[in-house]
């Protein structure tokens, strides 16, 4: 019988079956379940596959590169914006190349279901000049992941697998194939491969350029790039990744009459695209995310350039937001369906902080202080507490990226804003907040940093936080003065006391840190027990 897997789980099982020795990741929707699956897998435990969370995506990817350096297969997993954090190592490891097979998995979030942008990771793959794989179905996710490790070793490069929310978080029955054993330690043959001083880096970059034609050839012959002929050549369709499913759905009754080029491996298969352009009068391009293919396709068409290309850039499809069978149906020229509207009686129901959530008590306190001090500005960060932007709290003025609360508060304080408050979660602080705090400490910038420590990476499903039991010593180590490092418990009954503590620190003309400590109410029993074992810190 087939096994039921989320797209993310299919990918994780394929990585185990490909003989990985480790997965390195930081949680982020929609990528989280990949690593969690490996953490929970009995087989992975028996095989001693590393799967503990890393502190951020950069440390994850670098550790993964270290494992690849040792000759073993490895995977780094993150959400799309996480790749920004890891971009330094990502861009340089395509220059160095890899040793053991290295697959980078990035889950994009078109429509921003749980993200602050919908950046398309295919641009990163192209930027780094490495092969990109973009599966359409859960079964293809499994198969393409198996293929990816082999491809990585064949071309000596990391390979990027691009997932999207709807594939990551959709289940289907899949068939797995025979498991491979893990690799033995085997150091790189060329001792200079990973020594990127300019002298060696120039040689490596030249090598990367030289193998591009080989990469393109592999795409051209890839089993995942299919030219499917059709009788009606008034239009040809390029459909990549999950968009292919939506296209086929719209022709469920009789099959698609137009020639289709399904793309799931990049660099783009030039010959196949040329063939489609030669055979068809008009080309419709379907891709979830940015108009990546649509923007590039004109570059290598030559004589076929005069063909009309339609898609997201021409307004035939929405430029913003994900694709679905309905907007593709419209682009195909089908008559709009006569469906019911959402009745007026329905109100919107945005997500909210849980009843009993510690962030609630913190925001109540911040709002009291905000009324006292009209000039107060609050710089927020990434986590459940981002919901403090919405009513009923509306406590937060900014929300940009992981760690930006502290550094933006610093810049605003430099500009003369006082009080400048940063609100950051415990895990976000260890992810990207610590370095910014050091900036502020060095300059004695008058900011108050509130670390809302709920002992978990809560928004992504209460994963273990790297900060647990370490926040006081980290802050002291960075140089926060003992007198201005405070611990509070955000509970309704402590409201007055907590407001007094924060008020006091807002007056201080230097860096103060208030750690508001109370575990997330969603933490499961077993994890609670783990947290209780962590020694309580005092200032």
């Amino acid at each position: 019988m087939k096994q039921l897997f989320l797209g993310n789980e299919a990918l994780a099982q394929a990585a185990i079956d490909s003989g990985i020795s480790g997965v390195y990741a930081y949680p982020g929707t929609p990528s989280t379940e990949i690593t969690e699956y490996i953490q929970k897998s009995e087989l992975a435990k028996q095989l001693n596959i590393h799967s503990k969370w890393s502190v951020n995506e950069k440390t994850a990817m670098e550790a993964a590169l270290g494992m690849s350096y040792a000759g073993k297969r490895v995977m780094a997993v993150m959400k799309h914006v996480g790749l920004n954090v890891a971009a330094d190592v990502f861009m340089n490891m395509s220059i160095s190349g890899i040793n053991g097979g290295f697959v980078v998995v990035v889950a994009d979030d078109p429509s921003m279901h749980s993200s602050q942008n919908e950046q398309d990771s295919r641009y990163y793959g192209r930027f780094a000049l490495i092969p990109i794989l973009e599966p359409s179905t859960q079964q293809e996710t499994y198969d393409i992941t198996r293929y990816a490790f082999n491809l990585s070793e064949k071309v000596g490069l990391p390979v990027l697998i691009r997932m999207v929310t709807r594939l990551s978080h959709s289940r289907a029955g899949i068939t797995t194939s025979k498991r491979e054993e893990q690799k033995e330690i085997q150091l790189p043959k060329d001792p200079h491969q990973f020594q990127l001083i300019p002298f060696y880096a120039r040689k490596r970059y030249q090598h990367l350029i030289d193998i591009q034609s080989d990469n393109r050839k592999r795409s051209e012959n890839s089993p995942f790039n299919k030219y499917i002929d059709g009788p009606n050549t008034s239009m040809g369709i390029i459909a990549s990744g999950i968009a292919f499913n939506y296209l086929m759905e719209d022709f469920e009754d009789g099959g698609c009459p137009y020639p289709i080029l399904k793309i799931s491996q990049y660099p783009m298969p030039k010959k196949k695209i040329k063939k489609l352009f030669k055979n068809c009068k008009k080309i419709l391009i379907l891709e979830d995310g940015y108009p990546f293919i649509e923007e590039l396709v004109g570059d290598f068409l030559g004589e076929a350039k005069k063909r009309k290309v339609i898609g997201r850039l021409t307004g035939h499809l929405n430029r913003v937001g994900e694709l679905n069978p309905d907007n593709i149906s419209k682009a195909l020229g089908f008559a709009p369906k006569n469906v019911e509207e959402i009745p007026e009686v329905v109100s919107s129901r945005p997500p909210e902080l849980c009843v009993g959530c510690p962030h609630r008590d913190l925001f109540d306190a911040i709002n009291v202080l905000g009324k006292e001090m009209n000039s107060q500005q609050v710089f927020g960060d990434i986590g459940c507490y981002a919901l403090g932007v919405l009513p009923p709290f509306q406590s937060i003025n900014t929300l940009i990226d992981m760690g930006a609360s502290i550094t933006m508060a610093k810049g605003a304080a430099d500009a003369g804003i006082h009080p400048a408050i940063a609100i950051i979660g415990d895990s976000t602080f260890t992810h990207s907040g610590m370095t910014g705090l050091l900036d502020a400490v060095i300059e004695k910038t008058p900011i108050t940093v509130i670390i809302s420590d709920n002992s978990a990476v809560a928004m992504t499903g209460t994963q273990d936080s790297a900060a647990s039991g370490r926040l006081v010593s980290i802050c002291k180590g960075i140089g926060v003065e003992k007198e201005h490092l405070k611990l509070i418990t955000p509970l309704h009954k402590n409201m007055e006391k907590n407001i007094d503590t924060i008020r006091q620190e807002l007056k201080y003309k230097g860096v103060s840190v208030v750690i508001a400590q109370r575990p997330c109410i969603q933490i499961p029993k077993a994890m609670k027990a783990r947290i209780r074992e962590i020694e309580k810190e005092t200032v």
Partner: protein
């Protein structure tokens, strides 16, 4: 044969449990399934839905196109109506009547019920009370699954077996309570003769 089902409600109401039962029963019946769901921030007290698709042929899209859902099963009455654009003509609506009140502008219940009942094939029941009377208020979602079961292309036995599988690790008592909830839901739906 193809069946499209939308499950809806508020984060934490057990929508994914219904989905998991249908998924298991479908695979055991040697049919194809695709089932999409919502993870992450929007789960926190927000509107959530799952698209479930069952077929004996290949299923392409993970999302149900508008106007193609055979049935919407909702654990919350207002959330039911949010997905009406997906319902096919003469499709079925099955919902619990108890509102989940975490917003300030929740509609008047009588307006809400009137809107729901203006649709021809509707089962509006107090599934929460039924579950409570059976001694397990948590089984509201299973009562609704029972009420919808005759509309699914799955045998009663396969669904019951999937319920057993899913709740097994929680002990025999929980399994029994959920099977009772399923039967009761099925019974009530058939007495309404929709």
């Amino acid at each position: 044969m193809k069946s499209n089902i939308i499950l809806s409600g508020v984060g934490g109401q057990g929508i994914l449990t219904i989905a998991a039962i249908i998924d298991t029963a479908t695979l055991a019946s040697n049919l194809n399934i695709k089932q999409s769901e919502v993870h992450g921030m929007s789960q926190r007290g927000g509107a959530v839905q799952s698209h479930v698709r069952i077929s004996d042929k290949e299923i392409y899209s993970d999302l149900i196109p508008k106007g193609k859902a055979d049935v919407i099963i909702s654990v919350e009455p207002m959330e039911l109506l949010r997905y009406l654009p997906f319902l096919k003509k003469k499709g079925f609506l099955i919902t619990d009547s108890n509102p989940f009140l975490n917003i300030t502008n929740y509609p008047e219940l009588k307006d809400l019920y009137a809107e729901i009942q203006s649709h021809p094939n509707t089962i509006l029941i107090d599934a929460k009370k039924i579950a409570k009377d059976l001694g397990n208020a948590k089984a509201t979602n299973i009562v609704l699954l029972g009420a919808a079961s005759s509309l699914l292309p799955l045998s009663k036995e396969s669904l019951k077996k999937a319920i057993k599988n899913l709740f097994e690790r929680k002990g025999e008592k929980i399994v029994t309570k959920n099977l009772e909830a399923f039967e009761k839901g099925k019974e009530i739906a058939s007495s309404l003769a929709v």
